[in-house]
C-alpha cells in the first residue's frame, strides 16, 4: 500500500473525528422549545452522517491494506449510502426549519431519503461491482456497468439540489443579520457546506482526477475544522469575534 494511502486514511479519520465532535456538541446545545431542539438534532445527524462517511472512506483504505474481499466493500457502500442520505435529510430539514419555522416536513424527508438510499443500494447491484480501484488517495468500487454520466449528474442534483438552494439562502440570510458571532457562524457553516458539496460532488464530475481526489480529502477536513472553530472558538478567536445578536425585548417597565 502506497504511503499516500496511509496519509489519506489519517486525513479521512481526522475529518471524521472533527465532524463527530461537532455533531455530538450540537446534540447537547440547549434549545428554547421542541422545534429548534429537533432542528439542532437533525443538524447533528448531518455532521454525524458525514463523520460516518469519512470513517468509511478511511476504512476502505484499511480493507485494501488487509486484502479484504469485494463483498465487504459492497457492504460498506450500502452503509455509506445510508449515512449520507440520512445526513442530507437532516441538513435539509434543519435548513427548512430555519427558513420556515415549521416542523411538518420531517417525515416526508425521512421517507424520501430512505427510499433514495434503497435506490442507491438497488442500483449498486445493477451496476455490478467487479473489483476495487485503488488510487493514490483512496479506494473505490469498480463497476461492470457504471452509471451513465448524465444520469449520474441528474441523480446527484435530485439528491443535493434542495440543499444547494438552501445554502444559497443561508448566504442571503447573512445579509439580514447584524454583524455578530451568529453571522460569522452562519457564513462559515454555509461556506463549509458549499465547499463540501463542491468537493464531493462537483469535482469528480468536472475536474482533474488527482486534484479531485486530493480536494475530496482535504476540503472536508478544512471545512470541518472551520465550522468546529466558530462553534467552539479558542480564546484568541473568541476575542476577535463580534458579540452575539442581542435578544430583542420590549422596553418594559412593569
Amino acid at each position: 500500500v502506497a504511503a499516500t494511502l496511509w496519509v489519506a486514511l489519517l486525513i479521512a479519520w481526522s475529518t471524521a473525528t472533527l465532524f463527530l465532535v461537532l455533531g455530538l456538541g450540537l446534540l447537547r446545545r440547549p434549545a428554547t422549545s421542541e422545534g429548534p431542539r429537533l432542528a439542532n438534532v437533525l443538524f447533528a445527524v448531518w455532521w454525524i452522517g458525514l463523520a460516518a462517511s469519512n470513517a468509511i472512506t478511511g476504512m476502505r483504505i484499511l480493507l485494501v491494506a488487509l486484502d479484504m474481499p469485494l463483498t465487504l466493500f459492497v457492504g460498506l457502500q450500502f452503509i455509506n449510502a445510508a449515512a449520507v442520505t440520512m445526513g442530507l435529510a437532516g441538513l435539509l430539514y434543519y435548513l427548512l426549519f430555519l427558513f420556515t419555522g415549521r416542523s411538518f416536513l420531517l417525515w416526508p424527508l425521512v421517507v424520501f431519503y430512505a427510499l433514495f438510499c434503497g435506490w442507491i443500494i438497488r442500483s449498486t447491484g445493477t451496476w455490478r461491482p467487479v473489483g476495487v480501484e485503488v488510487s493514490a488517495t483512496g479506494a473505490a468500487l469498480l463497476y461492470e456497468h457504471p452509471i451513465d454520466g448524465t444520469f449520474r449528474l441528474l441523480a446527484l442534483l435530485a439528491l443535493v439540489g434542495p440543499q444547494l438552494v438552501a445554502v444559497a439562502a443561508l448566504f442571503a440570510l447573512a445579509t439580514r443579520l447584524p454583524p455578530s458571532a451568529s453571522r460569522v457562524r452562519l457564513l462559515t457553516v454555509a461556506g463549509a457546506i458549499a465547499l463540501w458539496f463542491g468537493a464531493v460532488f462537483a469535482l469528480p464530475v468536472t475536474g482533474d482526477a488527482t486534484v479531485a481526489q486530493v480536494a475530496r480529502l482535504l476540503v472536508p477536513l478544512v471545512a470541518g475544522a472551520l465550522v468546529l472553530a466558530v462553534h467552539y472558538p479558542p480564546s484568541w478567536l473568541r476575542e476577535r469575534l463580534p458579540p452575539e445578536i442581542p435578544v430583542s425585548a420590549p422596553r418594559e417597565a412593569a
Binding site: 474481499p69 457492504g75 427558513f99 419555522g101 430512505a114 443500494i121 447491484g125 445493477t126 417597565a253
Partner: protein, 564 residues
C-alpha cells in the same frame, strides 16, 4: 424470559438508565455481530464455507426457535399487562419465526426429494421474512400508539388482522412466479429485499427514535437493537450472496440472524431482570421523593401564608400611617400658616424665610401622605373588575383635570375606545395620572397635546397615551415607575413621585404590564395592556403587509440566533 416493562408504565415514570449489564451485552453483541460478518466475508472469499444446504437449514431452525420464544414471551407479557410494545414485538417475532419455519420445512423437503425449485421458493420467502419484520413493526406503531398510555383494543385487533394479512401475502407472493426471487442472473448482490428493506429500517429507526415513550421501555430498546442489527444484516450481510458459494452465504446469513437474535434476547433477559430491580428501587425512591415533596410544599404554603399576612399588615400599616398622619399634619400646616400670616411683621427677613420653608415643607409632606394613602389604598381595597367603558373613564379623567387642561391650553383627545375588564375607579385614576403627567411635563414653546388610542392584541387590549412633552431619557427607564422616584426637582415641577408607581400598581393588579417609549424633546408614549373581554372589543386591526413581512424577518433572525 419475559419482556417485563409496559409502555404505559415507562411513560409514566422517568426514563430508565441503561444498566451496565445491558450496555455490556449490547456492546459485546454488536462487536460479535460485526466480527462474524467480517470473518464471514473473508471465509467466503477464501472458499472455506462450501457446505451443503442442510447446514444453513439447521442453523435457521435454531433461529426460528429463538424468534418464537421471544415472540411468545412478548405475547404472554401483552396478555398479562396489555402493553402495546409487547404486542408489537410478539406479533413481529412470532410471525418471523413462522416464516422461518416454513423455509426450514421447504429446505428439508427439497433436500429429501432433490427438487431444486423449492430452493428458489425459500429464497423468495427470505424476502417475505425480511419485509415482514419491519412492516409489522411499522403497522404496530401506526395502529397501537401507546403515546398517551391509553390502550386501544380495537386497534390491537386491527393490527393482528393486518399482520396476519402480511404473513399470508408474503407466503402467497413467495409461491408466485410474479415476484422475483433472490437469485438474479447468477448473482444475488442486488436481491430486492436488501434495498427496500434498508429504507424501511431507516424509517423505522427514525420513528422509534422520535417515540421517546416507546424507546424508553425495555421492549422498545430491544426493538431498536433488533432493527439496528437487521439494518446491518441487510447492508453488510447482503453482499455475502455475491460470493460463489451460495450455501456458504446461506450459512452465514443464518448465523448472523441467529447471533443477532441471541444477543438481543440476552439483552432482554438482562434488562428485564435489572428493570425489575430498578422498578422496585424507583418505587422506593418515588415514595421518599413524594414525602419530601409534600414536606416542601407544606413549608412553602406556610411561608406563603406568612408572607401574605405580612404583606397585608404592611399595606394596612402604610394606609393607617398615612391616614393617621394627616390630622397632626393638618394642624402643623394650619398653625404654621397662621403664624406666618399673623406674625409676619414681627419677624425679620431671615425669620420670614425660615417660616416660608417650614410652611412649604409641611405642605409637601401633606401631599406626600395624601399620595401615599392613595397608593396603599390601591393594594388594600378590594379590586372590583367589571366591564368598563374606557371611553367613559377617559371622559371622567378629563373632567377631573378640566382646570389644568384649560389653564395649560391642552388638547386632550382619544380614538373610539373599547370596553375592558377593569375596576372603573382605578381605570379613571390611571388615566388621570397619565394625563396629568403629560400636562405637567410639557414643553413651554407649545401647548400640550395628549392622545389616547387602543387596539386589541390577542387576548389583551393595548392602550397608548401619546404626548408632545419634554420626553424621558431612556437611561431613566428603570426609575420612572419606582415609588418616590423623581427625575426633576420638586421646586421646578411639583409632585411626590408616586403617580407612575400608582399606574404600574393598577395595571399589574389587573394582570397587565406598562412601559413607555420616548424621544427627549419630542414626547412620550405610555403603553399598557389589560385583559380584554373578547365579545365587547372592537375587532383587531389587520396588520399591514410590510409589518407582516417585518415580523417574519424578525422571526427568522430569532431562529438564526438560536440555531446557527
Amino acid at each position: 424470559m419475559s419482556v417485563a416493562t409496559a409502555a404505559g408504565h415507562a411513560a409514566a415514570q422517568p426514563r430508565a438508565r441503561h444498566s451496565p449489564s445491558f450496555a455490556l451485552a449490547y456492546g459485546v453483541g454488536g462487536v460479535a455481530v460485526l466480527a462474524l460478518i467480517l470473518l464471514g466475508h473473508v471465509a467466503l472469499d477464501r472458499g472455506w464455507l462450501d457446505v451443503g444446504a442442510s447446514v444453513p437449514a439447521v442453523v435457521r431452525s435454531f433461529s426460528a426457535a429463538v424468534f418464537l420464544a421471544i415472540g411468545l414471551s412478548s405475547l404472554a407479557g401483552y396478555a398479562g399487562r396489555g402493553a402495546a410494545s409487547n404486542l408489537i414485538l410478539g406479533v413481529a417475532f412470532t410471525g418471523t419465526a413462522l416464516i422461518l419455519a416454513v423455509r426450514l420445512v421447504l429446505h428439508v423437503v427439497a433436500f429429501v426429494t432433490g427438487d431444486g425449485s423449492l430452493y428458489e421458493i425459500t429464497a423468495r420467502l427470505s424476502f417475505s421474512q425480511h419485509t415482514y419484520l419491519p412492516l409489522t413493526i411499522l403497522l404496530g406503531l401506526a395502529f397501537v400508539p401507546p403515546r398517551d398510555g391509553q390502550e386501544r383494543p380495537r386497534a390491537h385487533r386491527g393490527f393482528l388482522l393486518a399482520s396476519a394479512g402480511l404473513v399470508l401475502l408474503g407466503t402467497v407472493g413467495a409461491l408466485s412466479p410474479a415476484f422475483p426471487g433472490s437469485i438474479v442472473e447468477g448473482t444475488v448482490v442486488a436481491r430486492p429485499s436488501a434495498s427496500w428493506v434498508v429504507s424501511a429500517y431507516l424509517v423505522l429507526l427514525a420513528l422509534i427514535w422520535r417515540r421517546a415513550d416507546l424507546s424508553a421501555t425495555v421492549a422498545g430498546r430491544w426493538l431498536v437493537f433488533a432493527l439496528f442489527v437487521g439494518f446491518l444484516n441487510q447492508t453488510l450481510v447482503a453482499p455475502f450472496w455475491h460470493a460463489a458459494s451460495t450455501s456458504g452465504a446461506a450459512l452465514l446469513d443464518a448465523l448472523v440472524t441467529l447471533l443477532m437474535v441471541l444477543v438481543a434476547g440476552a439483552g432482554v433477559v438482562l434488562e428485564a431482570r435489572h428493570g425489575a430491580l430498578e422498578q422496585a428501587a424507583a418505587l422506593a425512591r418515588a415514595r421518599v421523593e413524594a414525602a419530601e415533596r409534600a414536606r416542601i410544599e407544606e413549608a412553602l404554603a406556610r411561608e406563603a401564608a406568612r408572607l401574605r399576612v405580612a404583606n397585608e399588615e404592611l399595606a394596612q400599616y402604610a394606609y393607617l400611617a398615612s391616614h393617621d398622619l394627616q390630622e397632626p399634619l393638618r394642624m402643623v400646616t394650619n398653625y404654621l400658616q397662621l403664624i406666618e400670616r399673623r406674625y409676619a411683621d414681627v419677624l425679620d427677613d431671615d425669620g420670614r424665610q425660615f417660616m416660608h420653608f417650614a410652611v412649604d415643607g409641611a405642605v409637601r409632606m401633606k401631599r406626600l401622605t395624601n399620595d401615599l394613602l392613595l397608593y396603599s389604598s390601591v393594594s388594600t381595597k378590594a379590586l372590583v373588575p367589571a366591564l368598563t367603558s374606557a371611553g367613559a373613564a377617559f371622559e371622567a379623567a378629563r373632567k377631573n383635570l378640566e382646570l389644568a387642561i384649560v389653564e395649560s391650553g391642552a388638547e386632550v383627545t382619544s380614538d373610539p375606545l373599547p370596553t375592558v375588564w377593569m375596576d372603573e375607579g382605578q381605570l379613571v385614576q390611571l388615566l388621570q395620572n397619565l394625563i396629568a403627567n403629560a400636562l405637567k411635563f410639557r414643553r413651554q414653546e407649545e401647548p400640550p397635546r395628549v392622545h389616547l388610542s387602543a387596539e386589541q392584541d390577542g387576548d389583551v387590549v393595548r392602550f397608548s397615551l401619546r404626548d408632545n412633552g419634554i420626553g424621558i431619557d431612556s437611561k431613566y427607564a428603570d426609575r420612572v415607575f419606582g415609588v418616590f422616584q423623581r427625575l426633576h426637582r420638586s421646586d421646578v415641577i411639583p409632585g411626590s413621585g408616586i403617580g407612575l408607581a400608582l399606574c404600574r400598581k393598577i395595571v399589574q393588579r389587573h394582570g397587565g404590564r406598562i412601559w413607555f417609549d420616548s424621544v427627549v424633546g419630542e414626547g412620550t408614549t405610555f403603553s399598557w395592556t389589560v385583559p380584554a373581554e373578547p365579545v365587547s372589543l372592537a375587532p383587531a386591526r389587520p396588520e399591514p403587509e410590510d409589518a407582516e413581512l417585518e415580523r417574519r424577518v424578525s422571526s427568522l433572525i430569532e431562529r438564526a440566533r438560536e440555531l446557527i
